[in-house]
Amino acid sequence: MSLTGGGLSLAVLGGSCVFLALALAVYALVTGVIGAARRDARLQTSARLAAVAVFLAMTAAIFVMEVALLTDDFSVSYVAQHSRIASPTWVKFVTMWAALEGSILLWGWLLSAYTAALAVTAPNTILRPWALAVMQGVQVFFIGVTALAASPFRLLVDPPLDGPGPNPLLQNHWMMAVHPVLMYLGFVGLTVPFAYAMAALITRQPGVTWMTQTRRWTLTGWGFLSAAIVAGGWWSYEVLGWGGFWAWDPVENVSFLPWLTATAFIHSVQVQERRRMLKGWNLLLVTLTFALTILGTFLTRSGVISSVHAFGNGPVGPLFLGFFLLVVLFSFSLVALRWDQVRDRAELDDPVSREGAILLGNILFLAIAFAVLLGTIFPLIVEALTGDKVTVGAPFFDQVSVPVWLIIFLLMGIGPLLPWRKAEEQSLRRNLAWLAGGALAAGLIAFILGMRLVYPLLTVVVAGWNLVSLALLLHGALAPRLRLSDRSALSVFRQYAFESRRRFGSMIVHLAIIVIALGVMGASAYRIDRQMRFQFGEPVAFRGYTLVATDSFRSQTQGRLSTGAVVEVYRNGDKLATLRPRINVFGANQQSAPTPGVYYTPWHDLYLSIAGDVSEGRQSVVLRVVQSPLVAWIWIGGLVLVFGTIWSLLPGRQRVRRRTTNDGTVRA
């Protein structure tokens, strides 16, 4: 079905959908606020229906954009600027989020999906209308940016015959189809607890209701964000050709900042639920988390900090900065207005308690976040004050965050073993003895295996500490049940895992964090990175392997020309793999992106990427050869983390607890 021939262009159609969505969102915001303020159920219902309508209009806009991309309709500005006829279909499809305007359209669509889902499923409480109004307010901003400032649907009267295609780095790996979407799902998901927090302040109910109602949303957002960060690391490893996964690049940092504050929030929520403390702290944390997602978008999208991802120096920078300031101003004034309700009545009884550990952990998470934020924006400050152009090197971030992480890992081991309110000395001593034993044993094994660097050794030590902690937690949970039941240990364990999903899920996530920490430790401290020249046919020894570059090759696929080398990997005379590291050139703009050849093993990866020239008729090739110990465990840990998050989110089996109350009745 061709829409372009019939006089109605896709650009006009898509633009109309966005404007319709904007009008509906403004309507939903206004009726929502009036309906909430007047407690008018009809207006509230109308606002909720409008939220669903916004979602439908945004879905239509997304659909039109995808049709335009897949049918190469270059009269649509975004398609003309970022797509190309020769691209494979999947690349055309993901070009939707390969540049600024499309990304914000996608963000707006996901936000409208979350808002509509909230409008349909949220329990009917006093918080709901206000929370929806806040969501609509955020939505008006995002859809407004798409409609008025950064429209992907501008009509080109004189369309080009073909476009340049998306940035080569973005069409080089299927992860680009996944990573940005995960990131936005995370950011947008964390808007929900923010909206409920604001609603709690507006309605003077800063108790625990807003948290219990958003617990699943928060965890979902956090899980997507965690998955997105790990996926981004893997993308970086597989595409950028330097054999690393994290460079403390501004764009990585700004995704990491809300993750840190959201992680702190997930923990401190429990303190408020259990001990009715930290009301104001939690409100500020969730606000900070949301504000940081907006700030991050500003930093990466305005081009103020140049980096791989900072594509586009459009008009959106000031808008996002303005919105960020508005969010901060609005929420902080609300907290100030409601300070009387927010103040804590309870005090910290004893720092050596579950809440004490969580609070200290929170402070440390925020300390890392502060340091990372400072390092990220420091070049801006220096340039504004002195005119000097500086960058903050990766060593800064490592020096500042690694020691703090080690303390967090210590708390992660001891915290869950501590009771609320006050630890009892005897059990505390016994637990600490076990933990220290595990830590020492792990450290000793690492030392015997030849590890001598301080931080890596300490990482192994805290890993041992935490493994023992998880064993103690499981033992503490299962031992009483085993005594009371005659069933097998395995079925008791299964019953526990399915009934106490939150607790067991948190154990899985903590285990995943330790696995990731070990992977990061190995791959950064013991990484070997060399450039070597290979004469074709001549073996070269590298770290117990024998590498033979046998030939160079050229291959042409749809819209892509690859040149590379064929390298055979041997160990002890056995051939293990044939790797084909290559450089890909996309289209006419001659920009290239590497694809490394990686031999994955559980102990270390052997990673080859082309360094220098691989034109035809050469007798040799220069390769960058990287060996990264344990790097695969970062990705495995990421999968385990996602699994643990999903485990916590699934509805648990109801446990039937029979308790006899004082008056003798039996309560289920």
Binding site: L374, F378, K389, G393, Q399, S592, D613
Partner: protein
């Protein structure tokens, strides 16, 4: 009473953290400069890691394929410095293009461990005799 102790403790921790952060930050700042800026005050950048930007001078490139050593001169049309880089020249590396090298100076030679090719469509090399717009060059390499 106890509250005061906590606040004092927090203040001490914060001050200590602030000091650590400040020291780490000042030691890991990497300045981005052009050769002429370095020539003005070399001692200011002693032992510091730098990012040096400029144009690869025509006729100065030499790549030793045996031990993978790349040498060339980087210039901003005012001052020129020799650069020594270990590793193969990246794909788009050629004479008269913009580059940024990262490393430090050793006896007037810049020893680089990271070489980035910067294709600036903005900056046009001056005709002979024309004044050099160093600021525009620096902006285009950032």
């Amino acid at each position: 009473m106890r509250r005061g102790v906590y606040i004092a403790l927090a203040a001490v921790i914060l001050a200590f953290a602030g000091m650590l952060i400040y020291r780490a930050l000042s030691s890991s700042l990497v300045y981005f400069i052009l050769p002429s800026e370095y020539a003005k005050s070399p001692q200011q950048y002693d032992d510091r890691r730098l990012r040096l930007g400029g144009i690869v001078e025509a006729g100065s490139v030499d790549f030793d394929t045996e031990d993978l050593r790349l040498t060339f001169h980087v210039t901003d049309s005012v001052v020129t410095y020799p650069v020594r880089h270990f590793g193969a020249p990246p794909e788009l590396f050629q004479e008269n293009t913009g580059v940024v090298v990262e490393g430090h100076f050793e006896d007037g030679v810049f020893v680089s461990d990271n070489l980035l090719v910067k294709h600036s469509e903005v900056y046009q090399a001056p005709e002979p005799g024309e004044p050099v717009n160093v600021e525009a060059l620096k902006e285009s390499l950032q």
